[in-house]
């Protein structure tokens, strides 16, 4: 093999760089799975089972959005006798009042940046600026 | 074939670096706009389309202009255009890339651009504009590349490519027609609400596009030993003359309709563009010098051409001068006056003048530089292939 001296170290550097995310995660704490924070108000029941919500809450939010905005179907969702209006601010955040712990911790972990909060108000914002 | 663009003399690289500088500045300015919002432009609530869209409109015309080379060569078998039809196709590619970049620069949520495909809306002319622009771009990439490859191998182009060539002819007309339809179907925008908008766009396109190609040919003759041929250049200048005259005629018709009908809405935009619009004691006329320059340059260019045709003389310099004058005239007319003129009076009869910001101008220059960069590289490839074939 020609230029053994440069090719082999080069290959090693390349492999190290490519696998950087793997070993970085292995040695850092950034990969700790976030702890689930239950609603501080003590509600036990959500609009759908926890597993389903975890997997496809974004689909449901999109469906709600289209139903409310486009089809005028604003009928409330009833969970355990309590009524919620369809919507992020009006249903989800009523119980899950801590956006930082409820939304951000997982979204940060999975590196998802939803644009919900560009328009919708977090419970904190809503309270702070309207008292 | 791309490797042909990677070899050139120092002037070639200097030129690309020069354009690169503009592209870099434009890129930085675009990032600023992306991070802050469209508020960095001179556009506002009443004048919500500006430089970006007007450049887009003009460049669609430049792209469609290549038709004036493709049509005579492929339909009428006009052999003199054999060497330069490829230039028309490559110019169309670069112009369309610029068009798409201007659109992306103009929308407030560029990340959602694909919503146009995800939620296709056939009743929107913007949807159809996207369809024909992408279609024409694809057709030109296919035709240009296949035909150039065949030329390089010194074989006839495959038969199937002619189907695409023939399809590209109505497509060229459609891109500018649909672009005109963005404007001319809007109620309450008097200046644009004119059935002659589309024909006028086409006429100015068939002058501006070929004018740019002639200028490119003359430059390449000097620096790249590429001669398009006297007959071809002569014929194109004739086409440019007629197209420019037809465009001027159409503009005059707009004047007639406005002034003879005496409907204020039909006159306002033309008054603003050419004479200054008076409103509540204030005169709005920031585009008047540009529009009269456009008129003078147009007739000046036509005069130069007429002189050459009558005396049967003409140097490259004169031809280049005539083409440059007409090109600039049409840019002022369509790339500046058409959009701003149509928007100066808002739906509530308030007058708002438009001044683009430095950031906006830098982004526009950056996109223009990208297009010229692309044209340079593509023309380099085309010329090299011609040289290689001629040995």
């Amino acid at each position: 093999m020609y230029n053994k001296g440069t090719i082999i170290p080069g290959l090693i550097i390349f492999v190290l760089l490519v696998t950087f995310p793997l070993w970085f995660n292995a040695f850092s704490t950034a990969s700790d799975v976030p702890k689930v924070e239950l609603p501080p108000g003590g509600e036990k029941q959500c609009v759908a089972p926890a597993a389903e919500m975890r997997a496809s809450h974004m689909v449901m939010l999109n469906e709600w959005r289209d139903e409310v905005l486009r089809d005028g179907k604003r009928t409330a969702v009833t969970v355990g006798g309590k009524e919620y209006r369809k919507g992020l601010q009006m249903a989800c955040m009523e119980c899950h009042t801590n956006k930082e712990k409820f939304c951000d911790s997982c979204h940060l972990y999975t590196s998802v940046k939803p644009y919900c909060w560009d328009c919708h108000l977090t419970p904190g914002q809503a309270k702070k600026e309207t008292h | 074939m791309i490797e042909k663009a990677l070899r050139g003399n120092s002037n070639y690289w200097m030129w690309l670096a020069f354009l690169g500088a503009f592209i870099a500045v434009g890129g930085i300015c675009y990032i600023r706009q992306y991070l802050f919002g469209m508020g960095l432009t001179g556009m506002g609530r009443d004048l919500s389309w500006g430089l970006y869209i007007s450049q887009f409109t003009f460049l669609v015309g430049v792209a469609a202009g290549g038709l004036m080379l493709v049509l005579p060569y492929y339909i009428h078998n006009y052999k003199a255009f054999g060497r330069i039809t490829i230039l028309g196709e490559f110019l169309a590619i670069a112009s369309l890339v610029m068009c798409l970049m201007f659109i992306m620069a103009d929308i407030g949520q560029p990340i959602r651009g694909l919503n146009m495909i995800l939620h296709p809306t056939p009743n929107s002319m913007l949807f159809w504009d996207m369809v024909v622009l992408l279609g024409y771009l694809t057709l030109n990439v296919i035709c240009g590349w296949v035909i150039l490859t065949a030329e390089r191998k010194q074989v006839k182009p495959p038969k199937w490519v002619y189907i695409f060539v023939y399809i590209s002819i109505p497509f060229a007309v459609s891109i500018h027609t649909v672009t005109a339809m963005l404007y001319c179907g809007l109620p309450g925008r008097h200046f644009w609400l004119s059935a002659i908008t589309a024909p006028r766009f086409l006429a100015s396109a068939f002058a501006a596009g070929p004018a740019l190609i002639v200028i490119a040919c003359l430059i390449m003759k000097r620096i790249a030993h590429f001669d398009a041929g006297k007959e071809a250049i002569n014929k194109i200048t004739t086409i440019i003359m007629y197209a420019a005259i037809i465009n001027a005629f159409f503009v005059c018709l707009e004047f007639f309709v406005g002034w003879y009908s005496n409907i204020p809405g039909h006159k306002h935009s033309l008054e603003y563009l050419f004479f200054g619009l008076e409103h509540h004691g204030q005169v709005y006329n920031n585009l008047v010098p540009f529009m009269w320059s456009s008129v003078l340059l147009c007739f000046g260019g036509l005069g130069v051409f007429a002189y050459m045709k009558i005396t049967k003389t003409g140097s490259d310099l004169m031809i280049g001068l005539g083409c440059a004058m007409i090109f600039i005239a049409l840019w002022l007319d369509k790339g500046l006056g058409f959009v701003m003129g149509g928007l100066v009076v808002n739906p509530l009869d308030e007058i708002v003048e438009y001044y683009p910001t430095a950031n906006e101008i830098a982004v526009s220059l950056g996109i223009w530089a990208t297009g010229i960069f692309l044209v340079t590289v593509l023309y380099k490839i085309a010329v090299k292939v011609e040289h290689e074939v001629e040995g």
Partner: protein, 277 residues
């Protein structure tokens, strides 16, 4: 080798094209989209209501919400106009941007000559000259903004006839602002949040890069409330809101009795906002 590569590239190219094109084809042929275009007739039955010539008036069906502004009750009370605007601004988190270039307006006041550009202001009466008029989105039955929107981000809400906006979908091309002959639409040229004085926790704000406009208070109607502007000038009873297709509604009773005008009716947009001047 070379041939294989070419073949691969060809297949890859075709697959990519199909991948890009497929959603478009699926969407175009799927029934919901078609349903929305046919659904237009059931909610907006009133055709050629003000056209005097051809075009028979088809039977009104469904709900078509409209607004009637009785300017007679507002003359000499500019504070009432401001009250209506302020109520709307507050309810909808509309930023107070102090620049004509970037401002955002849903409902605002303007002189007669600007509101009714197709009416003469020559030798107009003292009342007309000295008073401002409320203008807002006309929630047209034939809205040009909906016609031109390339993503259906603005559309007619079938059950109410409201011309709505889906801010999640808007790409910010501002074509609707070009199409609207009433200047009723505003664009967010930058992040509006710093300019909102007081946040209404029940309604979202908007983000930069989208177009916004009056929504006839769709969110309040769902709760059984009246639009904010109607409520704000309730004591004067100057604005009446209701179903234009319901012959028994209050708005229809007044429309049947009084002479009303509309903005730019000649453009064929069929506005749902009426004025008594």
């Amino acid at each position: 080798m070379d041939k294989q590569r070419r073949k691969f590239l060809k297949i890859a190219g075709v697959t990519a094209l199909a991948g890009i094109g497929a959603p478009a084809v699926v969407k175009l042929t799927a029934s919901p989209v078609l349903a929305s275009s046919t659904g237009k007739t059931d909610a907006h039955g009133v055709q050629a209501e003000h056209g005097s010539g051809h075009g028979a008036e088809s039977a009104p069906q469904g709900v078509r919400l409209g607004l009637l502004i009785d300017m007679r009750k507002l003359y000499g009370h500019p504070e009432l106009l401001d009250k209506a605007t302020a109520a709307c601004n507050k309810v909808h988190n509309i930023p107070a941007i102090d620049s004509k270039k970037s401002e955002i307006k849903w409902i605002w006041k303007t002189p007669f000559a600007n509101a009714f550009t197709d009416q003469t202001a020559y030798h107009s009466s003292k009342v007309t000259k000295e008073n401002d008029f409320l203008v807002l989105c006309n929630h047209c039955d034939e809205p040009p903004c909906v016609r031109v929107c390339p993503t259906k981000a603005t559309y007619i809400e079938k059950n109410t006839g409201i011309v709505s906006m889906d801010y999640h979908r808007c790409i910010g091309c501002r074509f609707c602002m070009m199409g609207c002959p009433y200047g009723a639409r505003s664009f967010n040229w930058f992040d509006p949040r710093p300019y909102i004085k007081e946040l209404n926790p029940d309604f979202p704000t908007r983000m930069r890069g989208v177009v916004e406009k009056c929504n006839f208070c769709g969110e309040r109607l769902a709760l059984g409330q009246e639009p904010a502007c109607v409520e704000a000038v309730k004591e004067a009873g100057a604005i009446v809101f209701g179903d234009l297709n319901d012959p028994n509604s209050e708005i229809r009773q007044i429309l049947d009795k009084e002479h009303t005008i509309q903005r730019q009716a000649a453009l064929g947009t069929k506005p749902s906002v009426f004025y008594i001047v």
